[in-house]
């Protein structure tokens, strides 16, 4: 709705556009002036907010390319269309970039002249008092101490001296004119506003640059595994456009032990929720080894690189022998937990290319705490290792590893394979508890030796993070100054003992009136004290009642 009104606004300024003989330069100048108006900045902000929304409704490649593919497969032409208009890459799309680039340009065009103006303002004297101070939003008038006619001139000057001193103490910049003091404060408000907008620019630029010069990679580590930081060690690696992957910092990381606990006491939906993930790791860099505990919110930082714990699961250790009794496969196999299942039911495959006779493959499910549900199905009722159980089917034939096309290590292409069957011709079901062995129909065996745990880590470098943090802090500080420092002008004028105090807010300031009132009261008290002192010297006690200060008259509020 706001957009509509905004558009209407833009439309209503059209007549100005179609003025004749603007010429190309004129057009450019006009466009620039439009772009740097507050109104256009405002419209761009609203458009930016709206443009950001589709990224939360549709799957995005930067988050989950798999889900994007699924979406494309199930949505045909509609999906294709959305892809053409970059709806799956919203935040790097042409249209999204165009909006924020326009906003940035608008910002620059706005900040530069304002900085220049502010620079001037900061160095010029506060402006003189306007003729009619009574029009000001904060206004007080009162009679200062009355002296004799000849001393009044000096009394007035003394009064202005006092007023100037007091305003200075309140943080005003002041200038003394013949019959009044002019004062201004709150330059920091504008400074803050400029800092805020400039810091926003810097933050946006930093974000863009950071993604060019950093990198992010993933790796799975089973207990006992050591990761050496080089390109081949990564399961996946995404460098920024200008990242030099030959210069990966040199370090090693070993997963010594991983320990997870799950809640076995809480009722309802909280039962089985994870409570702690502690990975004990040893890092080695520059010849120094250090032990760390890597946790979800406690990355390990080594050699300018961050290592973050992003996932974990089980890796059943399985030994496979072929018909000749040779061990052809042995060791932990990473099984991937089903994300939605609190019981960590995990799926995995095992490829055995080197068996005598034919290649073998196994597809299986691992249940950390196997139980039968009410339908008699095997499920995992808890994520901890209470009753580990491995269920697999076996295949023989060609794994398709040799034709050169890259394969996922987590799936088997079973098209060219035949499923193993038992004696009665039914599909073979391998079901094992730790320590158990099952013979295979054509000879050979599968043994479930035990279970290891593994972790998934993100390893990443972003050289611009420090700058980003600095600009974020500048944004916050600038904003605080710009919203809460009152910018205000004040004038104190006196004529024949009749004093006027006026205040004018520049920008939002709920305290203008108060400021005028307080200053008037203070000045009145001060002069009263002075004259009370003097009076005491001459005729003591006479002016006691006047010590409360000369009468402070509140100005009539009806202006004009």
């Amino acid at each position: 709705m706001a957009k509509k009104t905004a558009d209407k606004k833009a439309g209503s300024s059209k007549p100005a556009v179609s003025q004749p003989q603007l010429g190309f330069i004129g057009m450019c100048r006009w466009a620039w002036r439009q772009l740097t108006t507050m109104r256009v900045a405002l419209i761009l902000l609203l458009v930016l907010a709206m443009a950001a929304i589709p990224g939360s409704l549709l799957p995005q490649r930067i988050q989950d390319p798999g889900r994007v593919n699924t979406f494309l497969e199930s949505n045909g032409a509609w999906g294709q269309f959305l892809d053409t208009i970059q709806m799956f890459d919203v935040y790097s799309s042409i249209w999204f970039s165009a909006i924020y680039l326009l906003l940035m340009i608008s910002l620059i065009g706005c900040v530069i002249p304002r900085s220049a103006q502010h620079w001037k303002a900061m160095r010029s004297a506060p402006p003189k008092a306007p003729r009619r101070l009574g029009r000001m939003p904060g206004y007080e008038t009162f009679t200062s101490a009355t002296g004799s006619a000849e001393s009044r001139e000096t009394a007035d000057q003394d009064f202005l001296d006092a007023a100037q001193a007091r305003l200075k103490r309140l943080g005003y910049r002041t200038v003394r004119n013949t019959d009044h003091v002019a004062a201004e404060r709150g330059y920091l408000r504008e400074t803050g506003n400029l800092v805020f907008h400039i810091a926003l620019l810097v933050a946006t630029l930093t974000m863009a640059i950071g993604s060019l010069f950093g990198y992010e990679g993933q790796r799975i580590l089973v207990e006992g595994d050591t990761f050496t930081n080089s390109l081949v060690s990564y399961d996946s690696f995404e460098p920024g456009s200008y990242y030099d992957a030959d210069n990966l910092p040199d370090f090693r990381l070993r997963l010594d032990d991983f320990h997870a606990t799950f809640d076995d006491q809480a009722p309802g939906s909280q039962f089985g929720q994870p409570r702690t993930f502690d990975a004990k790791v040893t890092t080695t860099a520059d010849g120094k080894s250090e032990k760390h505990t890597l946790r979800v919110n406690e990355p390990v930082r080594v050699a300018g690189t961050g290592v973050y714990l992003t996932g974990n699961g089980y890796a059943p250790e399985v030994t496979v022998k072929d018909a000749k009794g040779q061990v052809v496969q042995s060791g932990p196999q990473v099984f991937i937990p089903d994300g939605g299942d609190p019981g960590y039911t995990s799926e995995g495959v095992m490829k055995v290319p080197d068996a005598a006779g034919t290649q073998m493959g196994f597809v299986g499910v691992f249940l950390p705490t196997a139980t039968q549900n009410e339908n008699g199905e095997l499920v995992s009722s808890f994520a901890g290792l209470r009753n580990p159980y491995l269920v697999m089917s076996g295949y023989t034939g060609d794994l398709g590893l040799d034709d050169g096309t890259p394969q996922s290590v987590y799936t088997i292409e079973a098209e060219n394979m035949t499923e193993m069957t038992d004696a009665s011709g039914n599909p073979l079901l391998i079901q094992l508890s730790p320590g158990e062995t099952q013979e295979l129909p054509d000879g050979g065996s599968v043994t479930f030796d035990g279970v290891k745990r593994y972790i998934a880590v993100d390893i990443s470098q972003d050289p611009t993070q420090g700058l980003m943090l600095a600009s974020a802090i500048a944004v916050l500080l600038g904003l605080g100054l710009s919203l809460f420092i009152p910018r205000r002008r004040m004038w104190v004028r006196i004529k024949d003992g009749q004093a006027e105090v006026a205040a004018l807010a520049r920008g939002e300031d709920s305290m203008v009136e108060r400021a005028a009132k307080d200053l008037a009261k203070d000045l009145a008290d001060e002069t009263a004290d002075d004259s009370a002192d003097e009076a005491e010297g001459r005729s003591s006690g006479q002016r006691k009642d006047g010590a409360a200060g000369p009468e402070v008259a509140r100005s009539g509020k009806t202006i004009d």
Binding site: M1, A2, T5, M38, R39, A41, L42, L45, L46, A49, A52, I53, G55, S56, P59, Q60, I62, Y91, R135, P137, E216, T261, D263, Q265, A266, G268, S269, Q270, Q273, P274, R275, T276, F277, R295, V296, N297, E298, P299, G306, Y308, T310, S460, D462, M468, I473, V475, L476, L483, F484, L504, A505, G507, E508, S510, V512, E513, K557, T558, I559, D560
Partner: protein, 334 residues
């Protein structure tokens, strides 16, 4: 995993008791707001009390908005009191009950926290429980500075509704945190987010009142008679803005602290996760709101509508994004 179930049960009981007191407080506030007998008796007084604000408004046209004298305190007293000599008994009882309710409410939050020995905002139910308590506390604190008891009906009613949702739709048994939330950042990022939500909510209901009041000032339809005793719309606007400005700063802090936490937890400070997207959208909308205020051609009512769009995105960010969107922020506990 020792959860003190007795304390957790106490907490639930306290929520129910607080809700009952909130309901009664809301009724008393509603009597104050809609006037009933008092309004009729003092209609003449109210009408005359409304006048000065009209006079002031015409005066204001000669100056720019920024030059306006606020003069709110005085106008609140004269225009909200229905008849200067009539004490607003409904509002007074409402406020007393609200204080009682928030004590029960705070006790519910405290017992919940003690039952699990951690911060009481580890899932949606706890977030709502704490956020509503903070909202009432913010409301009461603001009230010390400035009489905004006319908002009482909506504050108490909103809190009642949210607590009702908390113990039904959002209900989550007391338990420890999941590792993803187990960080000291939860004690920095989340309470400031809660505070922002409370501030922006109060700013938004002020914006609603501002819109109603300005309609009453211009057309004075019958169904808006009760608005006659409100402060002038220009004062409501300014107050709504001041609170939104504070809320915007705390929201900016929330966003920055969230980004720092994201770096610690997920290896990047910004990744356009659905929660991040909506936090950004909220931020940009309130930035637009602040801009609109300083933009010529944007009248106070249009600006107030932006404020309402802002609170709509805040609520969307909390409810729909948490419950239905895919993302890393899967802490709803549902």
């Amino acid at each position: 995993m020792d959860v003190n179930t007795d304390l957790a049960m106490w907490s639930n009981q306290l929520i129910i008791s607080a809700m009952i007191v909130y309901a009664v407080a809301m009724i008393f506030y509603a009597f104050d707001l809609f006037g009933g007998r008092e309004l009729k008796q003092s209609e003449a007084g109210a009408a005359s009390a409304a006048k000065p604000s009209n006079v002031r408004r015409t005066n204001r046209k000669t100056t720019t908005a920024l030059l306006d004298p606020p003069q709110t305190d005085a106008s609140v007293e004269t225009t909200t009191g229905s008849g200067r000599d009539k004490p607003r008994r409904g509002a007074r009882i409402g406020t007393s009950l609200l204080v009682l309710a928030v004590i029960l409410h705070a006790a519910a939050v405290l017992t919940r926290a003690l039952s699990v020995m951690r911060v009481p905002w580890g899932n949606m139910m706890e977030y709502v429980l704490t956020a509503t308590a903070i909202t009432v506390i913010v409301f009461l604190i603001v009230n010390v500075k400035k009489d905004i008891r006319y908002l009482g009906t909506i504050v108490a009613g909103g809190v009642l509704l949210c607590l009702g949702l908390a113990i039904t739709v959002f209900y989550t048994p007391a338990a420890k945190l999941i590792p993803a939330l187990d960080s000291y950042w939860i004690a920095i990022h989340v309470p400031i987010a809660i505070l922002s939500t409370s501030l922006l909510y109060i700013s938004a209901i002020l914006a609603v009142f501002q819109i109603l009041k300005s309609s009453q000032e211009n057309k004075d339809p019958k169904w808006l008679r009760f608005m006659r005793r409100m402060p002038a719309s220009i004062d409501l606007e300014r107050f709504s803005y001041t609170i939104a400005a504070v809320g915007f700063i705390t929201w900016t802090f929330t966003l920055i602290a969230g980004a720092i936490w994201a770096e610690v937890a997920w290896s990047r400070y910004w990744g356009w996760d659905s929660k991040e997207i909506w936090t950004f959208v909220v931020w940009v909308i309130y930035a637009a709101y602040l801009h609109a205020r300083a933009t010529r051609g944007w009248g106070p009512t249009k600006v107030a509508v932006l404020n309402l769009i802002g609170i709509a995105t805040v609520i969307f960010n909390f409810t729909v994004v948490n419950m239905y969107f895919n993302g890393l922020h899967s802490y709803s506990g549902l």
